[in-house]
């Protein structure tokens, strides 16, 4: 893993927000010491329920927010250095959001929306511009291209709009795309096409992808690796197939059990209904209040990530079998 230089290296990053709740200031630990890396042309999925810190990580990676702790390294340079070359950074690290309707100006044509980053970042002239717009639209399968060039957002379906958003992200020739729930708002029937498109981009255009989702199945289909987040903490990570099929952490197991599954007998998907609203106090394992296997130790110490077979799991259940994994910086 350390032979190839990661395109993105997120090292022990934390982010807190101060918010006012019921008249009192509170500290929200949105992200608590998260580390992961993305190799060139790889897809890493960040999986977690709402509030687990996924979008905060997206904002940290795209330099919209600054971490309180830790470091993010893109292409060998810390993001703090990139901040002095923010334009160059933004060109290489593009973002695709959940809601394509909100992401696109309703008054702009497809041609204009794809053309603008081509002019801004790549300074293309008129002739080259048209050709490049066509090429990009073909890449995202908005064909026949001539039909789509002059269209306005309201004339396109949700799936087509998300292709336009993806095309716009591609226009600057990024090396990393951060896609925050890019298919969550789309009908299940058209999600597959967008996921295939993202996979194609990685294979054919060589971009790396941080795929953010709450859906373990789509993560498994698209990503090489899955990083599971719970309340700002990585609880499990590893090869996508093994995490999604054979999860070790009780939280990932709960996620898998919860996926609609009419094929399984009900007892295989049944969960404990009484723990659902519980949240753990600070300190110890973040999942312990909802964990069916909770032990005394879980309240006392934060479990470190340990290697359990092919995965890394932060859970005291595996203390005997697991081998603690330290991060060695390259």
């Amino acid at each position: 893993m350390s032979d190839v230089r990661a395109i993105l290296d997120v090292k022990d990053v934390a982010k807190t927000y101060r918010t006012r709740r019921n008249g009192r200031w509170q500290v929200v630990h949105a992200v608590r010491g998260v580390s992961f890396r993305i190799l060139p042309q790889h897809i890493v999925a960040l999986v977690g329920e709402s509030g687990s810190g996924k979008s905060t990580i997206a904002k940290l990676v795209t330099a919209v927010e600054r971490p309180n702790q830790g470091q993010i390294v893109f292409d060998g340079r810390p993001i703090e250095e990139w901040r002095r070359h923010l334009r160059a950074y933004r060109r290489q690290v593009q973002m695709v959001f959940q809601d394509p309707y909100a992401a696109l100006n309703p008054l702009n044509t497809v041609r204009y929306m794809i053309g603008r980053p081509l002019i801004n970042y790549r300074h293309l002239g008129q002739d080259a511009l048209s050709d490049e717009i066509r090429r990009i639209l073909e890449t995202v399968h908005l064909t026949p291209v001539d039909e789509f060039m002059e269209k306005l957002p309201f004339e396109l379906s949700g799936g087509q709009l998300q292709r336009v958003v993806t095309a716009r992200a591609l226009a600057s020739e990024p090396r990393l795309i951060v896609a925050d729930e890019p298919v969550s708002m789309l009908d299940v029937s058209i999600r597959a096409e967008i996921l295939r498109l993202l996979d194609e981009l990685r294979r054919q255009q060589g971009v790396s992808l941080l795929y953010i989702t709450h859906d373990l199945i789509s993560a498994r289909m698209l990503a090489d690796e899955i990083v599971v987040l719970y309340r700002g903490t990585v609880v499990e990570e590893g090869a996508a197939l093994s995490v999604a099929k054979n999860p070790r952490h009780p939280y990932t197991q709960l996620l898998l059990r919860s996926i609609p599954n009419p094929w399984a007998p009900p007892e295989e998907t049944a969960i404990d209904l009484s723990r659902i609203d519980r949240t753990s106090d600070e300190g110890g394992c973040v999942f312990r209040a909802r964990c069916p296997h909770v032990m005394d130790r879980c309240a006392q110490e934060v479990p470190p990530l340990r290697r359990v077979e092919s995965q890394q799991v932060a859970c005291w259940l595996y203390e005997a079998s697991g081998v603690a994994v330290g991060r060695s910086d390259p």
Binding site: E49, S50, S157, G159, Q160, D187, V188, S189, I190, R191, A192, E193, L195, H214, D215, L216, I217, R220, M221, A244, K245, L254, L255, L256, R257, S258, I259, P260, N261, P262, W263, A264, T269, A270, I271, L273, S274, I276, D277
Partner: protein, 321 residues
Amino acid sequence: MALLAVENLRVTYGAVEAVRNVSFHLDRGQILGIVGESGSGKSTLGYAIAKLLRPPGQIVGGHVWFDGVDLVPLSELELKPIRWRELAVVMQSGMNALNPVAPIRRQFEDAILTHRPMGAKAMRERVREMLALVNIEERYADHYPHELSGGMKQRVAIALALVLEPKLIIFDEPTTALDVVVQRYIVQNLKALRERYHFSALFISHDLGTVLEIADRVAVMYAGRLVEVQDARSLLQHPQHPYTQALLSCFPDPRADHIEVMGIPGSPPDLADVRPGCPFAPRCAQIIDRCWRETPAYLASPDGNGVACHMVKEREGSAYV
């Protein structure tokens, strides 16, 4: 007699016909799932049955027989004793299902006092009991909706629908926009509540996986029409309509060794442009000539199952009449 029998129901929004000649029935104690992609007319159908359509939406034909009474011609005043007491609606979470300016307890009390008054002590006990059904501690009764998580709000909405023990509950996307664990919770909880309260339900959702878990029977909608109705179990094993088959393939078994989802290329038709032929034809992998010319009729068999597809008809011959 079925608890609910919808007969040739048609709903329009101006020139757009969003529900097109829909017929089905729901037996007592059953849950009927209604699935389809967004825009297929599921919510419109649910609201029409509950007589909650807002202009320009209006019922332009058909009947909604509820416990033997046609709701279609009834006035607001005539509907009042039926709403909530007999027929309750639970809307998508985050929608205006709960009154944002009243504490949870007040919303239960208002419902009880309007429809089935009781003393203060009994009422307090009733609220506690209803919240307990959805695993919400009594202290939350004095909270406002915005102080609860999305999942808790949805569970309160379910408890609130149940408080008068209606015969029929219409759920419109009750699990959409909730986290997957909360979705699982709601499905499991609803099954248990049904055992106890014996209500019937329409469970509207775009999520066929969830619908197949909770429903006894499933109605599949496409472009304002029913294209297939079957028992959940047989639909899972032998989906008839090519659209049902395609939709089902979008929900893989999460335990499978190999998962590949092809999706359904293209998108549903614009309801405003009326063309001849089967509305699914442009996306269908099994078309014959006739599909472009003639809209297939929805043919029901005596057991209440049905399908609207030329191909199926050719294959099955006389099974559907």
